[in-house]
Symmetry: C2
Subunit: 345 residues, 2 copies
């Protein structure tokens, strides 16, 4: 059973999950490009994964057989486990609890050799739908306080399988980093009676120098104080605190701007490793007025070194203004009709 | 001039330092093993670096010529610059200031092919002395609020030159991660009237299962809630809030336990990339009673992925108890007289 342990000084929880792991001699094994024959996420190998939770597949195909367009499965090596109780325990000065949670994998495509940046808008929309369905289902479990969806692309970004997939983890606590973001947004709201993200979007739309692109319902921009070069955020231009709150008719705009932004990054930076991370309010409605959900895309072009580990203070060699200009000016193969290109001012 | 920018939601400052950097096409260039001929840190190439601030060298040698045992220089591509004023500016909702600070490099050895884990105790002591001298000097500059010393070993840990060196950065603000640690320690002190680190050391000495080694004045241990496999902390067993506060006669014990711990990690994990980071109180005496300085060593065996970026919640596949046992039981080539081996209970 994985275990949650709390750092008593910082108050940061960590997951000790030895089933995923590792004696000293196991480190340093690198992911091999396996091609599709041995890949557990490829059609024909469905029995190599836990059974599917949901799948998008024609009516005439059976669960856990080929023919699907998208599958959601439990992670075979989950960081947190779905069965059991929290069982909070103190050990002298220290605190721990059982590693209860959900850890799912969204297999985005049957095609081993396509990445998110290569998908069409319909494919991207399917993936967003799958996120939303799983979030709505997991929110019913009262043990879960927070649900995060994220994608690791490329080995340097932590992907251990190359077949395009994203992941979802439901946690029994609101993680520290999330609580900080909520707290920062709350402070601003208490002072101004306005959502800080709405204010940022308004200011960024003004001179547009950090804007990458826009459509009717979403904006892609480089944040004013990016930790990493080409860090890019996608935000709904209307105030919503959670992905699952947005209107269904707004979902295609999300799918197209996410896909298109990943394409811009891929073309600009030669298919860089990256993470994207859904930032959403906790399951309980905390933050509904003052928090604004969004996606943060973090290309992994530089290494996080001692200074960053020690201080939380990032050294970034690229200004967000330069990065935005570069991403804006990239020629996409096809400019989709439903994406309005942002003009440089 | 580098620029400090503040994320308005989290309150995290970042350093935008374009002189270090990078158009999109520059990313993905990897460090080459250059050998000593082209290395700016090797003897004979002193003119390739900024002039030395201090050096340990025989009296009959001239500054910036060969013969030295250790050199401290300004970083040729500093993240922060020593000249100028802070010049705080608001831009609408955003805040920035000039990137004022000091960024120095401690070239630990003239030998291109030796790493910290290979040094003898005398060499390690020289390095600690250099840290201390530079800290005491930079503390006189009232613009600096925090001084961090750190080492990046190996490319995956962010080292851009292979010749063994550490770095020192003085910052005009107390970084967020440091402030959090101070705040956590203060809360505990307010509740218990005791230093939390002193309490941790007392508890860890009890059953010893997370202790790696001890000597008269220091302890090396795996923290209860480690973010990364084999994360190891070195703490003074007496309460001091800053490295420069400890008695001179305690310095050799620090040098030997640091060197020995790095040797244990190197032997256990086949010379892994790592960062070590000095955690010390701010320049002003804030935290003197409740904060306890220490060194955190972070081997880089796993990748920080989307989940960790999004939540600050780390998934660690190795228990600290297993890691401590492994490190304790490693056979060192020579067991130094002044290091008492910790017994397993």
């Amino acid at each position: 059973m994985p275990e949650l342990r709390k750092d008593p000084i910082i108050g940061r929880w960590v997951i000790i999950s030895t089933e995923r792991g590792k004696r000293p001699s196991d480190f340093g094994i690198t992911m091999e490009k396996k091609g599709s024959k041995l890949c557990p996420f490829c059609p024909g190998n469905e029995s190599a994964t836990p059974p599917e939770i949901i799948a998008f597949r024609p009516d005439n195909t059976k669960p856990n057989t080929p023919g699907w367009a998208l599958r959601v499965i439990s992670n075979k090596f989950p960081a947190l486990k779905i069965e059991g109780d929290l069982n909070r325990v103190g050990i002298g000065i220290f605190d721990k609890m059982n590693g209860i949670g959900a850890h799912e994998v969204i297999i985005e495509t049957p095609d081993h050799f396509k990445d998110f940046a290569d998908f069409d808008n319909e494919k991207a929309l399917n993936i967003i739908w799958a996120y939303r369905m799983r979030i709505l289902d997991l929110k019913k479990d009262p043990r879960f306080k927070y649900i995060i969806v994220f994608k690791n692309h490329g080995q340097a970004a932590g992907a251990s399988l190359e077949h395009s997939h994203s992941q979802l983890i439901a946690t029994p606590i609101v993680p520290k980093r999330v609580a900080e973001e909520l707290e920062g947004a709350l402070k601003y709201y208490q002072y101004k009676e306005r959502c800080i993200f709405c204010d940022i979007i308004r200011q960024e739309m003004g001179d547009g120098e950090r804007v990458v692109s826009r459509n009717d319902n979403f904006i892609a921009l480089e944040p004013f104080a990016p930790r990493l070069p080409f860090e890019t955020w996608i935000l709904p231009t209307k105030h919503y605190s959670a992905l699952e709150d947005i209107a269904e008719k707004e979902l295609p705009d999300l799918a197209s701007i996410l896909r298109e932004t990943l394409k811009r990054l891929s073309l600009s930076l030669n298919n860089p490793p990256y993470n994207f991370i859904l930032h959403s309010r906790p399951v309980e409605e905390e933050g509904k007025i003052y928090y604004h959900w969004h996606i943060e895309i973090m290309p992994k072009l530089t290494k996080v070194a001692g200074f960053e580990w020690g201080t939380g203070f990032y050294i970034n060699p690229t200004t967000p203004e330069d990065a935005a200009k570069y991403l804006r000016e990239i020629k996409l193969d096809v400019v989709e009709n439903n994406v309005v290109q942002q003009q440089t001012h």
